[in-house]
């Protein structure tokens, strides 16, 4: 399979991979390794602001690359439980094939779960 340059860049660097710890860290996960795609986000939130984000991802290069991009662009107000960019826009940004776009919904679910955990603190 061919990947876009952006996909390869984020897949190969995967900056932001890991976990956060501490009282102001909120976690959300979605998917299943047994099903082939699993994503987890940790958000460090205080004063309604996301200060840091980390991710773990078991999945294809697109899954890892998009998760890394989302974690990188996560900083800012914790206003709503939405991704920094819509799934449709992310799929175009990373040239995700149509048949793999369901995996972006797993990323969105993990993100929403993490944000909701922070909003419900």
């Amino acid at each position: 399979m061919n990947y876009s340059e952006l996909t390869l860049q984020y897949f190969e660097t995967a900056a932001g991979a890991g976990v956060l710890t501490g009282p102001d860290v909120y976690r959300g996960a979605a998917g299943s390794r047994a099903q082939g795609t699993w994503v987890q986000f940790d958000l460090q939130v205080s004063g309604g602001i996301i200060h840091a984000a980390r991710f773990l991802a078991f999945g294809c290069p697109h899954t890892i690359a998009v998760s890394a991009w989302v974690a990188e662009h996560a900083g800012g107000p914790l206003a709503r439980a939405t991704l920094p960019e819509r799934v449709q826009d992310l799929s175009e940004r990373f040239a995700v094939p149509m048949e793999k776009r369901g995996r972006l919904l797993i990323i969105e679910d993990a993100w929403v779960a993490a944000v909701n955990a922070a909003l419900q603190r």
Partner: protein, 395 residues
């Protein structure tokens, strides 16, 4: 840019330079470009002589006689000719075929097509090492069985089947003919068509440093093991000139068969030390990867050809694993990638691997050009990729 280390010799091999040179001699006006079927002038005679020399070379490499060699475009066509040819010829005797779940698609797809046309097919399940036992074949034989098709060396896991024992089972049955796909065998293990007692054998040139686009089907003229049940018969699948004794019409591609003949000759005369060298390199690769932990060797190592190592890596996703190594390493996944989405390898699933481990496998195919340095590079690249992906995946 550095070319990746090539460890995909089970998929194809580079054409030996001596083979390429011999092929080139059959193409241009300075060489033997004639139609080998043209008996009316020296151009045809010369090309025809080269074709027959090649036929003898192929036969000698696999313990056959030249008249048993039918040229084809490759092992896939040979498999199709064997399966459809036998099924069609013996259709009044029976419409049952036995094969194995881990066969190449070139066998499985014709069998499925025959099922659509009304034949019955039994798909034998291998044990966890990929081995089919002769008593499984014996138990599956029916009065209406006309063909058993079993590959000698599996293309994904390298496991060698005891086709000689299966030949004996078929001979005892009497009506069932044995077809063996030996595309992965030549040059790796000794192949003796007569000794094995099989009726039909498919061969390929490009797995043995010969060209793509040429292969052969061996059709026994001895009546199989014991020679007491009559020669196997086939119905031809294509018509239009009567070449290859009517089994495969069409002008024989002189340069292709000359290439295959020389490639098989070189394989036959290669020093046995080369097989030992490859075997040592494969164990170096396995031992190097073993330090990762969470890896599984697919296929019974004691019954495997030396040039194939198939490994599943726990805690990584298959597509990402391949993407992580592809810049430095040319290998295959264990998967049959027939679509944009990877499908788990049906071969590994048949061995009992779950979908995730079936997807997260790599097949390393070693060959003549593989060096210790290549193996050490492969170990380093795969170790880094797996470790990194496990960290990203939190496993």
């Amino acid at each position: 840019m550095l070319r990746p280390v090539y460890l995909d010799h089970a998929a194809t091999t580079p054409v030996d330079s001596r083979v390429a040179a011999a092929m080139a001699q059959c193409l241009t006006v300075e060489g033997e470009f004639g139609n080998p079927a043209s008996a009316s002038h020296p151009f045809g005679d010369a090309a025809g002589a080269l074709v027959e020399t090649a036929r003898a070379q192929v036969a000698a490499a696999v313990g056959a006689v030249p008249s048993e060699v039918i040229w084809t475009s490759g092992a896939t066509e040979a498999d199709n000719l064997a399966i459809f040819g036998v099924a069609q010829y013996y259709r009044e005797h029976g419409r049952h075929i036995i094969t194995v779940r881990t066969e190449h698609k070139a066998v499985l797809d014709p069998c499925r097509e025959l099922e659509r046309r009304g034949w019955r097919v039994t798909y034998l399940a291998p044990d966890s090492g990929g081995v089919i036992h002769p008593d499984q074949v014996a138990a599956a034989l029916r009065a209406d069985t006309v063909l058993v098709s079993i590959m000698q060396v599996n293309n994904e896991i390298g496991v060698i089947q005891d086709v000689s024992a299966m030949g004996a089972v078929c001979a005892k049955h009497g009506g069932a003919r044995l077809h063996v796909d030996a595309a992965q065998s030549v040059g790796k293990i000794a192949v003796d068509f007569a000794e094995l007692g099989v009726d039909l054998m498919s061969l390929s040139a490009h797995k043995v440093y010969g060209p793509k686009g040429v292969g052969a089907l061996l059709v026994s003229r001895r009546g199989g093991r014991g020679g007491d049940r009559g020669r196997v018969q086939l119905t031809a699948l294509q018509f239009g000139g009567g070449q290859e004794r009517g089994f495969r019409a069409g002008t024989v591609a002189t340069h292709q068969v000359v290439g295959m003949g020389l490639a098989f000759e070189l394989a036959r005369t290669a020093p046995p030390s080369e097989v030992e060298r490859i075997s040592v390199l494969r164990e170096r690769l396995w031992q190097g990867l073993a330090s990762l932990g969470g890896i599984f060797r697919n296929g019974d190592a004691k019954r495997s050809v030396p040039h194939v190592l198939n490994v599943s890596f726990e805690g990584v996703e298959g597509e990402s694993l391949l993407a992580a190594v592809r810049g430095r390493l040319a290998v295959s996944t264990g998967s049959a990638c027939t679509s944009a989405l990877q499908e788990p390898s049906y071969v590994l699933r048949a061995l009992g691997r779950d979908d995730i481990l079936s997807e997260s496998s790599l097949r390393f195919g070693l060959g003549r050009g593989t060096s210790e340095s290549d193996i050490d590079t492969a170990v380093a690249v795969v170790t880094r990729a797996v470790s990194r992906l496990r960290k990203i995946g939190g496993t």
